[in-house]
Symmetry: C2
Subunit: 342 residues, 2 copies
DNA sequence: TGTTAGCACTCAGGAAGGTAGAGTGCTAAC
DNA sequence: GTTAGCACTCTACCTTCCTGAGTGCTAACA
């Protein structure tokens, strides 16, 4: 049984209707709304075939049909009209990102917020990893009595900082001396190469008290391990509640939990994105606790190179066409702004 | 009609039962479970009085009684046994905060997380405002080509930082010069006094190109306005879903919205806390969209002075005794750690 | 061979009615 | 002031019935 043109047309119409109404779609409805030029009976025959093929299913015997995950997949891969101009959105996005260009972090936050606002789904953003690229600058700044602010900057201008607590006060000249030493030895190195061994080697040449050196190395090591963690922003979680499939509190809870901490949804976003935009539908998400849930993600770039990920989480009954268009649009705009800066 | 000892006993028992079961409590249940020494009929008479007084109410004619907001208020003010030792929790908290003492920000995050974990409600934490106290140190660090990292530290070691974007590159010596100048002129001043006027005055003595000076002042001004915004952490929102009164999605949405952005719940936390722990019950929260919702908050201290707020949001049917004990416990532990540091 | 009208069948969801159980308020007796 | 007893009320739950939507099948048609 082949998926002929009419079957495609029917599947497309069915998905369009179901996305809009969230109600199972019957043969009569399809004929009436979408001018298919044949009778409901014919549609029924075709729908029966589509069901055998696994693209749609019946919630119960006397109901209409709803798309299956496989149906959405077919739609996204073969039927979806990719292009959508979104001219109003472009202006709005540019306007709202331009405000924030003074401030890197606000730019990420704003991108994420815009995406959730415009899509009415939940937006997720993985910030660029500092560990990529080489160490351009390392600074140690005394703060208060026992605290030192450590700042690492890589060659794309990404920045990592931590306030570290020293067991005993360290005077400023010494700190400066340490900073210069670190800058000399570490500057220009690939961030991934900054290991404990290297730090210990350097610390040997220090004139400080031994215990202090040891702590400094410990702290640096700790800071370096910290900066390899991805930071993630999530925005618009309450948008979930507007979706009828998430009237069930348990389901929302599962998704929200999966977005927190070490949750599985988080992992999907953090995993290296393959080139281009990815759509992950329903059970394609490798986690049993989240259901009825799809994701659209893409990577944004700094100077042409993938820096981080941005995307949305919504119900499988998602307007994929619009979702993809929006995610790509915001990713492009963000990439442009980020690349302008340098 | 006075609230005699027996009425108090009954109200206390009723609240205890309702908090545990979330079901309206009848007279027979009270007698059976709480050994009140009188018959259900007597309890009924007393309950009728309590209802007239507004402390309890009936959801419908043939149901038991539930506490009203006024009832909870009376309970919190007069009946609640304040003391709870929580020895297990103390150890757990200390252990988990100690890990994070190296890192200010992690300490706040961890406090908030511990509070939501242990209370099973939603925890909220307002970070200390840097604007309190005087400016101890100001640093300008070049980052990438056109970016400058601005760091302000106040005399309690609180830190504020922003990456600022310059329209044209600024060379390091100039930046250093500007930094020294700012440190000289501004160091030791009360943070609240740092106004645009002051900045402009200082900038007059700068040897830079005029437009660059103007931008520097703009950026500083912007940064200063930013650092007067309170930062707030929210943790454990999904704990809401476990409460039967929040089976209604709409209600959870309202609360979560009220905790975001400029939401009214946020405002309650940010408002200056009066001395000690505050319990805000149901309609005492000045916002109509959140219902069935109470808050417990207190301030934590740095060197004896109130620095920020920490607390929880939960249903009015909250275990107030435990909530207050936990909030105070964590606030104390956090205060201790923060004060140790300096 | 593909399409269609007609028809019997199925099932969810809502309305109506009936029952059990929990809990009250009232009254009269202690 | 306290209590037992009783009539009353109301919700929650179950059952039954009905309607409407939608299907699958069959036979006729082009």
């Amino acid at each position: 049984m082949s998926v002929n043109e009419r079957k495609k047309q029917i599947l497309q119409a069915l998905i369009k209707d179901y996305v809009a109404t969230a109600e199972p779609v019957g043969s009569r409805t399809l004929v009436k709304k979408y001018h298919l030029g044949v009778s409901p009976a014919t549609i029924r025959n075709e729908m029966s075939d589509l069901e055998d093929l696994g693209y749609i299913r019946q919630p119960h015997a006397s109901a209409g049909r709803v798309p299956s995950d496989k149906g959405y997949r077919f739609y996204v891969d073969n039927l979806m009209d990719k292009e959508q101009p979104l001219p109003k959105e472009i202006g709005y996005i540019r306007e709202n990102l331009k405000n924030k260009i003074q401030e890197m972090d606000a730019l990420f936050q704003q991108s994420c917020q815009l995406l959730s606002q415009l899509s009415h789904y939940t937006a997720v953003m993985v910030k660029p990893r500092i560990k990529k690229g080489s160490l351009e600058r390392i600074s140690l700044i005394p703060v208060g009595e026992n605290q030192v602010l450590l700042i690492l900057v890589n060659d794309s201008g990404m920045l990592f900082h931590r306030i570290l607590e020293m067991v005993v006060p360290v005077d400023e000249p010494r700190l400066k001396q340490f900073e210069v030493l670190l800058q000399q030895k570490l500057g220009g190195l690939d961030m991934e190469q900054l290991t404990r061994n290297l730090l210990e080697e350097i610390s040997l040449s220090m004139s400080w008290h031994q215990s202090l050196v040891k702590q400094a190395v410990d702290l640096m090591d700790y800071a370096l391990s910290q900066c390899s963690h991805e930071q993630m922003l999530v925005n618009g979680t309450t948008n979930m509640f507007a979706q009828p499939e998430f009237k069930d509190v348990e389901r929302v809870k599962n998704i929200m939990d999966a977005l927190e901490g070490e949750g599985p949804l988080r992992k999907v976003f953090i995993n290296k994105t393959t080139e281009g935009t990815q759509v992950i539908i329903g059970d394609e998400i490798p986690d049993a606790t989240v259901s009825c849930c799809s994701m659209v993600k893409t990577s944004y770039k700094v100077k042409g190179e993938a820096a981080g990920t941005i995307g949305i989480v919504g119900p499988t009954r998602m307007d994929y066409s619009k979702a993809v268009a929006l995610v790509e649009l915001i990713s492009e705009q963000l990439s442009e702004m980020l690349s302008q800066k340098k």
